[in-house]
Symmetry: C2
Subunit: 131 residues, 2 copies
DNA sequence: TAAGTGTATTAAGTGATATAATACACTTAA
DNA sequence: TTAAGTGTATTATATCACTTAATACACTTA
């Protein structure tokens, strides 16, 4: 899986998910991890599209979702910038995490696993010694 | 969200995911949780389709995947039965769980969370009243 | 003015999903 | 033997999400 570096971020696309979702997730991840600084400019729609060899409309879709989440601010004619408001970043981080946790626990419960065993499986997966 | 009882199992379909995936997941969950006994017969393709008001081909697709996973055995002319081999059920249970755990941890890591905080968030989520 | 921004529109193609209508081989029970 | 109920296969059709393509427009900056 080829990894492409654009504007301080790394992208790696495949066919497992919609392209716009992958772009969205990878930018969001870069922001959450602090790999790209608050207030920084991210690549233009056209630049990123060209680098990733996908259509500008597809990049647009990802960028629009980022702005809806208030993770970015767009200035017409200038470009798209990461928000400078760290509170907004944190809010999104926890909101997305909360959803992931909910889905995870729901899935495990659906498989008949309960708290102690879920914790045990998590520890095993991390390579930790168990109980 | 309407809940429909068919052949000892409960089904609840919506538009958030493909129908065949929802049917597949809900039968798998019933088996994993032991809500339906090993060796039991599950509803016929036509019966389930009629009860859920979906196309028989859609049910077929779910049933074929269940058989590929060896969670069910089909006897031509008779019907579809839950496997009697508890080892197979457990294998699938842990395989699916492992995938869920991997995806969950990967998502949380992508958001910049590490082990201690992930555990903390899990504890918080369980302390809340949900569902 | 020219180049680079974000944004909008229209058109087209592809693939997954779902439905519909039929048909066939098999099993069971009447 | 027959009829009804199984799983299974096939073909056709429709819809929708996703993606690409080609333009066009308004704005900002150098």
């Amino acid at each position: 899986m080829e990894e492409i570096r654009v504007g301080g971020m790394y992208f790696s696309l495949d066919l497992s998910l919609p392209l716009y979702e992958q772009v969205l997730e990878q930018v969001r991840s870069s922001i959450a991890k602090g790999e790209i600084a608050l207030g920084d400019k991210i690549p233009s729609v056209r630049e990123l599209a060209q680098a990733l060899k996908i259509n500008p409309n597809t990049v647009m879709r990802a960028y629009q979702e980022l702005e809806r989440e208030q993770l970015t601010e767009t200035r017409r004619g200038q470009g798209t910038y990461i928000t400078s408001d760290i509170a907004k970043v944190d809010l999104i981080r926890y909101r997305v995490a909360d959803k992931a946790i909910e889905e995870f626990l729901s899935k495990m419960t659906g498989l008949g696993f309960e708290t102690p065993e879920i914790d045990k499986l998590l520890r095993i997966k991390r390579g930790e010694a168990h109980e």
